[in-house]
Subunit: 325 residues, 2 copies
DNA sequence: TTGAAAGCGATACCAA
DNA sequence: TTGGTATCGCTTTCAA
């Protein structure tokens, strides 16, 4: 390539890295040759020389889960705008793989974005020590992170239901060991207690559609008039089972989901849900990571994003109990 | 590192590449040192030396779309099993970016998986010439590809509706220029004609929820008793609008989706949908690509996977027309 | 079985 | 403004 343009490799390099450092006419010749040969500098070689790869790693538990997919998309978009590519690793919910993958990725990326709600803290710490990282949707002390605690939104949800006259709600927990499930449970309990709303808890459960369907009957039997599910998927399972039994939503029972994924907006009735700003989460995570790459000594920061209740058609006034007047 | 183990770099390299070529006791010493230092060979340097990266590129239009996310997941899993990492590029539905990205990726991966329903054929050809590639869910002559034509499933869908007594169906098309949308339209038209079912077409439309909602009214006004949507998302929009209008599904109108995504199974009523084996699509694509990497001279092959109708609760007997007896 | 040395394709420093 | 050269970390002949 250098030969083709009649210049040295150094000059070719400069043409791409610092174009203004080379005489316009030489540059033109080089670029012409590049065009002719379809030449593109090798990122690999460049990485080796520079010690930087121009790549960020993203570790998610399940890319087929809309929750993570939306984060991944935001990360992608943001990273690209900053001229970074993204290495995606899907751990398929295996915490061991998560760790192994992270270590493998660590060497070939400039920084790592880790979405790993269930990985244990020590390992997470180990990873962070090896490579600049940002943890997403989870708070780990001493590690920069971006979280959108569902507290606010869930408190709003309980207040919403309370205002509608519900006095007894069912709380459907998510996976055992899930950081967010625990936080969500706490938030609902606390808010309910403050407002004098009774809570019956179910779970922990795998946050799947069919477990939602299964637990719907239990919630009904317990006498709850409103159900707050760990996430939208479980809420949809509940909706489906209620419809099957002829229980009307929201006339007989109100249902609240969380995450406000595509599932919530496309359900009928559309699901009242706690919105987590997933795209902002992804964007902020990238920004935080890049900031960290620039200034490695900056103190680990935790960025907190607000969540909020989006009221849709699946919640309504509590049904009258007792005999009709 | 080599120094730490008291051996030459060559030997260290052999320990990882061809362990059996080194005396067990030396190997042990090297591995011990590696363990102690937390040493991992640099994939970057290795790529440069080998001319292979151990990485596959995956280009998708929208990773937040469950359809592509499921493919991506399957690709990930399969690639990892074969010791390949995956570079993910989300083009956000911009065909120009798709092309640019593909060219960028081309240099840093061993092969490319392209899911680009709307990229024009010439560019696709250009990409394929630069780097071993497999096109997914689209058929391009001279290029290895993996497709799951929805023909079979859609024919089954029309037959299903016909058997239920539907004589007039609405066909909702997807995006203009989308390869799969065209194929799907053809399939429905052809099957309907053969069975003597009337078809009213709507679209092309952006395959979104709200366009589905919008077109539901038109389909109803046209007198169709069954609606076949381009995909599940549009079908859900239709379901939502029908529910809003008090039109019962499947009593008054039957609705069929396509892709059989999570959306279809979690809808209520659950959506009858044409299943595309997305995971198999992803897996086969990886296999085909790796095969191609091994044997660059093998003729481009097109792998065809079957699609099938999954009947759920959103389809039922056609309503009686005219005055009740 | 091990070591020495060349090379992969770029960057960056120092000279010219 | 350009060219020469060492370097990044690993693989791979070729010798020892």
């Amino acid at each position: 390539m250098a030969a083709q343009a009649g210049v040295s490799p150094s000059t070719v390099s400069r043409c791409f890295a610092t174009p203004h450092q080379v005489r316009p006419e030489t540059r033109a010749r080089v670029l012409a040759a590049a065009e002719r040969l379809g030449y593109r500098p090798s990122r690999i070689a460049r990485s080796l020389a520079l010690g930087r790869t121009g790549t960020l790693g993203l570790i998610v538990p399940d890319i087929a889960n809309p929750f993570f997919a939306v984060i991944a998309k935001a990360v992608q978009a943001r990273a690209r705008r900053k001229d970074y590519a993204v290495f995606l690793a899907d751990t398929d919910e295996h915490p061991d793989d998560e760790y192994e993958l992270a270590l493998t990725l660590a060497r070939q990326v400039d920084g790592l974005l880790v979405v790993a709600p269930r990985m244990d803290g020590d390992r997470l710490g180990e990873i962070v020590r090896q490579v600049p990282s940002v943890v997403v949707n989870r708070s780990v002390s001493g590690v920069p992170s971006v979280v959108a605690p569902s507290e606010d939104g869930l408190r709003q949800a309980v207040a919403h239901l309370h205002a509608l006259g519900h006095a007894h709600l069912a709380l459907i927990l998510g996976a055992r060991n899930s950081w967010s499930s625990e936080k969500r449970g706490q938030a609902v309990r606390r808010a309910a207690q403050q407002l004098g709303v009774a809570v019956t808890e179910f779970g922990p459960h795998e946050p799947k559609f069919h477990t939602g369907a299964q637990v719907a009957d239990l919630a009904l039997a317990a006498g709850a008039t409103a159900i707050v599910a760990h996430n939208d998927l479980m809420a949809l399972g509940i909706l489906a089972r209620l419809a099957e039994r002829g229980v009307r939503v929201p006339d007989d029972v109100s249902v609240v989901g969380a995450d406000d994924t595509l599932l919530a907006t496309t359900a009928s009735p559309a699901l009242t849900s706690v919105r987590i700003p997933l795209d902002a989460l992804g964007r902020q995570a990238v920004d935080l990571l890049l900031h960290r790459l620039d200034q490695p000594e900056s103190p680990p920061r935790e960025t907190v994003l607000p969540s909020e209740l989006i009221v849709r058609r699946s919640t309504g006034p509590a049904p009258r109990t007792g005999p009709a007047p």
